[in-house]
Symmetry: C2
Subunit: 301 residues, 2 copies
């Protein structure tokens, strides 16, 4: 089954395009999961794993997909890398789609090794990829799309410095628009029954005007919209990043959900001891926020 179709079906089933990013920092974990301020790597990695698994359990009934970011696990060495795989495995057991946020991108033979690591060994459903090296750096991933896999290419990222290169003017447009055109073209071979492609795009929720323009430019490309919540992206401004009926987009929140227990109103209502309830409540609030922003969405019905 085509990844874009699996994604569309999961969004309809769960009634939301909310994507929960799992970006754990040891210092921010709930006290019950920590072992002092300076644990050894194995202890810290075990804490990240326990946290990630409980986040998965808390949000699995509420969202179609999670996006664990491998950097925060690699920060604890191979023990962290192992923990990442275990969080991925739990998410799959719970029936969630898993987008591995890994931002990989290398020449063809190396890209093949990354595709083995993420698609063959870890068996994630999709992966974030850098487009900077062009077609042959993506082909090993595309070659696995017949197994239902997909990707999200970095087109216009959510960070302040994304303008440094991505907003540069080319003859006839910007660099990110050129990447958008490449992404749409690369995706044409992988369009599913839903009308969307398995080749998606990362488009920062922090740049809603560009997101709306890119939606017109890439009508068959699923968007992964990071930057909602903690980075300042607002649901209302994202309406035009969706396709007809609220299709074709996932909105990601990481810190705003997984560390909700540290922020109001959740800090007062639940406190650190009841952090999973805070995760649950913050996810419900995100769902409602998105449903309000895209009232004609089929998934909001």
């Amino acid at each position: 089954m085509n990844f874009a179709d699996r994604l569309a079906a999961a969004i309809e089933e769960k009634g939301t395009p909310s994507l929960v990013g799992i970006d754990p920092r040891y210092a921010m974990l709930p006290a019950e999961l920590k072992s002092g301020d300076h644990p050894d790597r194995a202890t810290a990695a075990a804490a990240l794993e326990a946290f990630g698994i409980r986040i998965v359990d808390a949000v699995a009934p509420l969202v179609p997909a999670v996006k664990p970011n491998i950097a925060f696990f690699e920060a604890f060495g191979w023990e962290g890398y192992r923990a990442y795989g275990n969080v991925v495995a739990r998410a799959k057991e719970k029936g969630l789609l898993v987008v591995a946020d890994a931002k990989r991108g290398d020449i063809g033979s190396t890209a093949e090794a990354y595709a083995v690591a993420l698609f063959d060994e870890m068996d994630v459903d999709a992966v974030t990829l850098s487009p900077y090296l062009g077609t042959d750096s993506l082909k090993p991933f595309f070659d696995r799309f017949d197994r239902g896999k997909g990707c999200f290419l970095l087109v216009k990222t959510s960070n302040p410095s994304s303008a440094d290169l991505q907003d540069r003017e080319l003859a006839g447009g910007t660099v990110f628009e050129a990447v958008a055109d490449l992404t749409r073209t690369w995706g044409e071979a992988f369009i599913g029954e839903s009308g969307m492609s398995s080749v998606g795009a990362v488009v920062g929720a922090t740049f809603p005007e560009q997101a709306a323009e890119l939606r017109k430019r890439m009508p068959t490309t699923p968007f992964l919209l990071p930057g909602y919540g903690a980075q300042g992206g607002k649901a209302d401004s994202l309406r035009n990043a969706f396709g007809p009926g609220g299709s074709g987009a996932l909105v990601n929140s990481s810190r705003g959900i997984i560390f909700a227990f540290g922020k109001e109103p959740y800090a007062s209502e639940f406190g650190e001891d009841r952090w999973e309830e805070a995760v649950h409540a913050a996810t419900l609030a995100m769902r409602a926020d998105l449903a309000g922003a895209v009232p004609d969405a089929t998934w909001a019905g």
Copy 2:
């Protein structure tokens, strides 16, 4: 303590700018290190580690630095990731500079986690980084350059599809030229006594004309030149990628050295049983090839 100065000193000490890329594929390992054709992950990772360590031991007297590529280790899961760390540790024990070929690139907070993983935990000397996300994605790495760390940014990569994006025409130049200008600018704060910066650039040895132009455009930027050997780059064509006296460049060979035992003339001369001698001979040949191509190099003296 500046990375560019450490690199220049190591090149002079070893008498060559040869960089050995460690990109192991299980199927290509010498028979003595393999355990059948379909080992479990832990067994395969152990074979990669043994191979990587013996490559390090074989080339340590001959070259200033190695460039282990993490993708080929990640292909064997956390066991592979652990093996990577152990190969890095061995290279450091042997006094080699280690360039972690990881091509990371993410928004600031995530980049910080990657910087922890590679610079703080694994303690490599330099890392390859994607520039696509701009300044804030690089800052966590730059913030560690006062500890002697450095990086090589992807400017013009060695693969055939690098033209897809990198060769696009901007107003006043191509995308890769714009990245070159950014790289030079980013590097200005990190120029050492050698006159070179800790912010280096990856420039494909497969594109010698662009490499020569980029040398003029980035006079204080150390180049990492991949694509020599197996990808077709020739030493003679790289003369103009060096600065005065053969300064400011590392030339990488991966497959051409680590799997030399499978290629002529080494296959006939040594065979698979004496694969480390083939590695040694291929490294010596590369040293001689580069010294012949850059006869005025101070390191060739």
